[in-house]
Symmetry: C2
Subunit: 201 residues, 2 copies
């Protein structure tokens, strides 16, 4: 692309660093910024900088938090015998939205991915092991994506936790609620048959 202005080129290059944002979307964002008041643009940039500079991570579960310990870890009504292991805060938000889980979390901050140079040592896994030992956790529910990286990480965690007196579970895979059999992929359908469950009529 040939830009009519250096300032536009620079802003497009910066904004297209966001995941899922290409040059065309970035240019659309730039046009939006040009139509805003100066105060409105600086409100946006201030929110971005404040986010990066002032955010804290809970020292217990590594989720983002405004305080030293997050509101979930700090809640005495949560069941501290079960820890759900997730990749990032979006997964915590998704699971909290279901209202089906009342235990605590552990946020890895990523998945084991040799291709991206992310080994297990970068994922706070030792802290998880320490927590399981110290808190006498009864169950670790591993809720990671069903991708190669997710499966590798789940396998690694299960190996690390094997010798501890803790139950290791994963979320079930199967046909989504409301989904039709004929449109499901073979692997998912196969797994939903392997992992079939007693019917509670």
């Amino acid at each position: 692309m040939n830009f009519p202005s250096q300032l536009i080129e620079q802003a497009v290059n910066e904004l297209s660093r966001f995941p899922g944002v290409g040059k065309k979307s970035a240019l659309r964002m730039v046009l939006y910024l040009l139509k805003q008041d100066i105060s409105s643009v600086s409100r946006m940039t201030h929110a971005m900088e404040q986010l990066r500079n002032e955010i804290k991570f809970c020292s217990h579960c590594h989720n983002v938090s405004d305080k030293e310990i997050c509101s979930i870890c700090n809640n005495p009504r949560r069941n501290n015998e079960i820890i759900c292991v997730v990749e990032d805060l979006r997964d915590v938000m998704a699971i909290e939205n279901t209202s089906q889980f009342s235990g605590l979390y552990f946020v890895l901050g990523g998945l084991i991915s040799p291709m991206d140079g992310i080994g297990p040592e970068l994922l706070n896994i030792e802290h998880l092991i320490t927590r399981v030992k110290e808190e006498g956790t009864k169950e670790v529910l591993v809720a990671l994506s069903a991708t190669m990286e997710g499966d590798t990480t789940t396998f690694y965690l299960s190996k690390k936790l094997r010798d501890l007196p803790v139950h290791i579970t994963t979320i079930s895979r199967g046909i989504s609620v409301g989904g039709e059999l004929e449109y499901a992929d073979e692997v998912t359908l196969g797994r939903s048959i392997q992992n079939r469950i007693p019917y509670k009529g």
Copy 2:
């Protein structure tokens, strides 16, 4: 959505003001920001603020520019007898990329849209009329989107320019190059028949 932190909520709200960015995409952008260095985030916010604060608009064609007069208006090799009227700088960039136009531009900065409260008085149209009169322009090529707003604006411009000794043209509509007839919509196909052109074999 329930956010685990005020800072995250605020940043998601600000970033989702971008066109085409919803809360989920904004949250993805926020996670990206959290993984960046502080210096990398401030490079991005600096580019956004500099863009908004320092951008200039060419006083001749209203396109964005780093100088008082943009590089296209300032180029003595451009044909100043023809003015191409477009909505915004993306259209200028798209037309420049074709290398098929060597005239000058006039950027409206929007389209007439009563629904959004945009009347003709907001679109620099008087300046266009003045330019056509003063520069003795021979042709005004109106290159606006084929939407209701685009057609309304084209009609308004043609009415305003009717009494001046200037040729008014619009870009041709028809089946796109490489397009198949059976997949074209009826209106486009119909127009391509109405506006058929002599075959240059």
